[in-house]
């Protein structure tokens, strides 16, 4: 399959889905993370369960189209509808294996900013944390999903909403965080991992030029000696993604 047969968002969804293991509890966000969860459920991780922060636990994809996690099809046939305190208790107690977040900026340590971005004229106020900071603090593994643009992958985020690894080894533990941290940063151009608390490019998407990726990265790019090409989404994966996003609302 050539690089023209899928969109950047679709390979991001496919790469994100591969991070979900069968039987895991996954703190699911909307848009690409939701599609990744639906794809994983439909392929290699049928036993995964989704935790939604408004208070929904479900192990089946919603049967109708949804825009937010509060939409009625996302609650119908759930395993449990409950409250925010209960899902956050599951997260705080270490019962959530994996959580997804996106944001406006990410830095080499995997810190994510969804609060404010400096501009030449002043700043742009973004909506804030939602549950993002909680997921980054408390989930066993964190997946960050973001468009690969130089103003998004920055040397230093303007505001740490959701903490990553920090500037020194042991930084998370010093803060009082007992687990977790970014497991992968999935962008429209590649996949980074954080073996020493710093983003290391481990996969580059098919057809992407490494120098172009470097130019679009706001920090001094570190590349794994074993850099691999990301597996393109299969026809089956694409069919599933398009079933759950039939109008390309999130993946076009």
């Amino acid at each position: 399959m050539s690089a023209m047969d899928y969109t950047p968002a679709e390979i991001m969804v496919a790469a994100a889905a591969r991070e979900i293991r069968d039987g895991e509890a996954v703190f699911v966000g909307m848009r690409l993370p939701l599609l990744a969860f639906c794809l994983a459920k439909s392929t290699h991780a049928p036993g995964a369960v989704g935790v939604f922060e408004n208070g929904v636990l479900r192990d089946l994809p919603a049967e109708g189209p949804i825009i937010t996690m509060g939409d009625t099809p996302n609650q119908c046939r759930a395993l449990k509808t409950t409250d925010l305190a209960e899902v956050m208790t599951l997260l705080s107690g270490g019962h959530v294996d994996l959580g997804f977040i996106g944001g406006a900026q990410v830095d080499i340590h995997g810190n994510v900013n969804t609060h404010r971005v400096a501009t030449p004229e002043g700043f742009i106020r973004l909506p804030g944390s939602g549950g993002g900071a909680d997921i980054a603090c408390l989930a066993h593994r964190l997946l960050i999903i973001m468009q690969h643009q130089p103003h998004r992958l920055v040397a230093r985020v303007d505001f740490i909403t959701s903490p990553g690894y920090g500037p020194t080894p042991g930084w998370r533990a010093e803060q009082g965080l007992v687990r977790g941290g970014p497991s992968a940063l999935i962008t429209s151009l590649g996949v980074f991992r954080f073996p020493a608390g710093r983003a290391l490019l481990c996969h580059i998407h098919p057809g992407v030029d490494l120098e172009e990726l470097r130019r679009r990265t706001g920090w001094e790019l570190e590349v794994s000696p074993e850099l691999e090409t990301t597996a393109a989404p299969t026809a089956q994966e694409l069919a599933i993604i398009r079933k759950f996003d039939p109008h390309g609302l999130w993946t076009a």
Binding site: E53, N54, T68, M69, D71, T82
Partner: protein, 309 residues
């Protein structure tokens, strides 16, 4: 107190006049995307009750509308915007430019604001959490103090309790005594009602108390906490209410398009809030066809259980 035992049913206008006053702190939109009490919020806007502090988790455009109307001086929340599209433009203008008036934001995460209300509900001064340690949310934020656990020595956060003056909660049904029943994902509606000094309940339907007693598991807000209950069908539109109507995505998209400038945002408020006397006129404007499209199209009645003795 003596809040129980009386008939609490009121019309929306008088209920808002009686329970909402300038300078109050109000928890609303407590269930994240669902059950947002837009009907009650629009009445607050029409009555022009100002200098409010709003408390919420992920807070959708209901909060953005109150800010755009110039009625809010402080927000204590985890997120303010348009859940369908991202930014809330009235919120941005208020924070970035002080228009229509400056807005103080006390940032939280969804968990920390939940815990703040839980502490408040229990009459305690603080809650304890690890999250959001390591986040800039806790820097220079009056609601967070790092402390060392006296038992374990662990580094933890002391989160200041939040006790709103009023919680406005929308539910599917309530009886005249104010026992409110809701089903679906509830966010922190129950905690907000427990933490607040007063509670205004709006509901899709007023039902007989026997309906409540037949299914006590579903009571989310007991009438002993409630000061007024208002029957307000479609009172949460464009937010979803399980079993009644789904999210109106078109409405959120239109709001995003039409609030990018302050002038457009004022036009939007004029069309959907100031130029309608109440929820009935609002629904006329919305139109029957649109409402029909949002109604339940895939019925799924729950099973019933034996609750006898």
């Amino acid at each position: 107190m003596q809040r129980y035992g009386n008939d609490k049913v009121m019309e929306l206008g008088p209920a808002v006049s009686r329970l909402v006053a300038p300078g109050m702190s109000i928890a609303l939109g407590c269930s994240l995307e669902g059950f947002i009490p837009y009907g009650a919020a629009h009445e607050i806007i029409r009555q022009g009750i100002d200098r409010l502090t709003l408390v919420g988790p992920i807070s959708n455009i209901c909060v953005d509308q109150l800010i755009g109307a110039g009625l809010v001086r402080r927000v204590i929340a985890a997120w303010v915007g348009n859940v369908s599209t991202g930014s809330g433009y009235n919120f941005r203008r208020a924070v970035e430019q002080g228009r229509p008036r400056p807005l103080e934001v006390i940032d939280h995460s969804n968990f920390s604001i939940t815990l703040a209300l839980e502490a408040g509900a229990r009459g305690l001064p603080m809650a304890v959490s690890r999250s959001p340690l390591g986040s800039d949310i806790i820097k220079d934020n009056p609601h967070f103090q790092v402390f060392s656990c006296p038992h374990s020595g662990q580094r933890l956060l002391a989160i200041k309790a939040v006790n709103p003056d009023l919680a406005i909660i929308h539910v599917q049904r309530a009886d005249r005594l104010g026992n409110g029943q809701a089903w679906g994902a509830l966010g922190f509606a129950a905690l907000a009602a427990q933490a607040a000094s007063k509670v205004l309940l709006t509901c899709e339907e007023i039902v007989d108390s026997e309906v409540i007693r037949a299914d006590p598991d579903r009571t989310v807000v007991p009438g002993m906490l409630v000061d007024a209950v208002v029957e307000l069908p479609w009172g949460a539109h464009p937010a979803p209410v399980q079993g009644y109507y789904d999210l109106d995505g078109e409405h959120y998209l239109e709001y995003s398009r039409r609030t990018k400038s302050a002038a457009d945002a004022a036009d939007w408020l004029e069309q959907w809030v100031f130029s309608v006397a109440g929820r009935a006129e609002y629904l006329e404007k919305l139109g029957r066809g649109r409402m029909e499209r949002l109604r339940v199209s895939h019925p799924a009645p729950t099973g019933s259980v034996e609750f006898g003795w």
